[in-house]
Symmetry: C2
Subunit: 397 residues, 2 copies
Amino acid sequence: MRSTLARRFSPSSTLHRGIITGPRFTPVVQSLPSIVPFVAPEEQERVRGSKFAVRLGANENTFGPSPKAIAAMQESVDGVWKYGDPKSHDLRIALAEHNGVAPANIVVGEGIDGIMANVAHLLVGPGDSIVTSHGTYPTLNYFVAGRGGVLQTVPYGADGRHDLIALLAKAHETRAKAIYLVNPDNPSGTWHPAANIEAMIEGLPQGTLLLLDEAYLELAPKKVKPSIAAEDLRVLRFRTFSKAYGMAGARIGYAIGAQEIIMNFDKIRNHFGIGRIGQAGALAALKDTEYLDKVCKQMVEARKTLKEIAISNGLKSLPSATNFVTIDCGQDSTFARAVLTSLLEQDIFARMPPAAPLDRCIRVSCSTPEDMQIFARALPRALEEAAQRQLSLTSSS
Amino acid sequence: MRSTLARRFSPSSTLHRGIITGPRFTPVVQSLPSIVPFVAPEEQERVRGSKFAVRLGANENTFGPSPKAIAAMQESVDGVWKYGDPKSHDLRIALAEHNGVAPANIVVGEGIDGIMANVAHLLVGPGDSIVTSHGTYPTLNYFVAGRGGVLQTVPYGADGRHDLIALLAKAHETRAKAIYLVNPDNPSGTWHPAANIEAMIEGLPQGTLLLLDEAYLELAPKKVKPSIAAEDLRVLRFRTFSKAYGMAGARIGYAIGAQEIIMNFDKIRNHFGIGRIGQAGALAALKDTEYLDKVCKQMVEARKTLKEIAISNGLKSLPSATNFVTIDCGQDSTFARAVLTSLLEQDIFARMPPAAPLDRCIRVSCSTPEDMQIFARALPRALEEAAQRQLSLTSSS
């Protein structure tokens, strides 16, 4: 076999001539920058050479999942030699019941991120427009770029909320395939009430899909949840077990939409991508509504605490319907970055919004009273250090 | 806000006119069939209305993972509120050491399937050719179709092995972007020794990437593992924790390749797609080489047992370097399907290769002596029922 292969296909008989050029990536892939878009806290810790004391930068839920979900996951480890059910049958039935839709209206994925990768695959070809707010949760942007799509952005409103009118206008103008809207929003924490979202849906251009990311919905007041018919072809909603349910590391998200939309995921998704342990945990977490209520109350408390910490430092915070609070540092992005840098140096992992006008803020996740106290102690020093840094910059210029 | 929205973007001012047409999926997606390509045992059980007694159809590892991996996963559940490290840093370092390459030569994904979805994204645009054997493991085919790629197939050789010469010839003929080769193979169980693979690599057309799926490599004789330089631009290798390591439900696979290839995954992959629990389990499983050796020996025993069961029923089996044995039922695909049907009716989950010439066979996973005994008892009846079915078809025609 070996000699036959060598005789038939020797390097000299092909195009090699000693030089190997490597794989032929698609034109879109070749055009993409080779940057890592998401720097995780673990990576920051490795670069710093030390661990963070508190983890308030990824909007994780430090209260953790329901003890029943933990027990279900630990129990399910014994069966991990089996693939997870690729249809997530039991979980989809439970999610359908929970949301008042049919199981065929639900697709489960590897977190909302995983589902958004598939949405980009379904909708976006080179040159296709997607509309979103400049500086909102960036993962869909990344997947749209990965398909050669064109991101059309509008700024946040002056109130720190999405500018729904500008988003709609941009979608009409660019004949966008979709508008991506996070509500309640990350990284601002702000929200639009259901009535606004419902009115926005009525104003969508024909054939423009509203990608409504409701990752933080369980943590929001009831009036935030829009009423959308299960078979409405204009909207695809995203939910997750990573936030209120406290299971970010288990990678379970889902989308709710018309069957005519949802069925398309089966054409392209990684059917066996959903872990067995995560499915078991999500099912148990969903059933434990008592624990969810308790966590939501703890989050509301922590939101109040973060707001008070801001006020006691002479700052304002943006209203939040999420598990984090975005604190307006009152000056420009250089100042906010200096505050963040000092917090990181004080072993507190936090983040800041990436774009104006919100990049005058820092974003701090809700957590336990102990974590909130650590942050309360660190913020005054961070503000002071940022002010000093600014002063030294001013005097040297 | 609501009234402004309604005034500016009322349905009557848009293209709606009462009819909603739904999202504009890409032309490739629109052309894809709406079928579910993978019917899992759970789905078959739901359709049957009863559970299988033994699960020998998905090449899962019924011996399960190392007890140390189980302990590591159970322990890691407590930290599941945190996202998994998107760089899989610790696991990649361990995998690099294990494989004698650099961490930058490794990308971790949601099983080999998850990585193959990304490979299709990186390489395949509409009309691009990918070469493979007709009837081999089908997932890459599915992802290639999902990109509008063209699958170019050649039949298996008469010995049940991949026909490397025909694969190379087809790649030259079609200027293929890649050849997908499973070695040891699924669903045949057969393998080519390292020397053949190495010779094949030398014969690749310029710019054709060999996608070498080594999912079963740990279970194969040492001589199957080809020697490939870490920075060789012609090959991308795939490995998994789903087979020998017994962690199919944890969704951890990885690819080994030149840094120039591997770095491209960061442009398009779901960075936070890898679960925290799976990463912890894989790291512990990799370290427990003693347990792996033990499982491999048990698999070799089970392979012998399956071969003997075939012989004692007057059948031949294909040689196997995997955790399953493909048994030649000695007649056509109708007969093999009848054997499989009877096994399923006897509560044994098994499968059969999908295409000629291997569709005269059934494929049975290696398992515990108890499971093998259940199969040994069921096979004679399955063969008898298949023969009777054939007889009644012949006499009625």
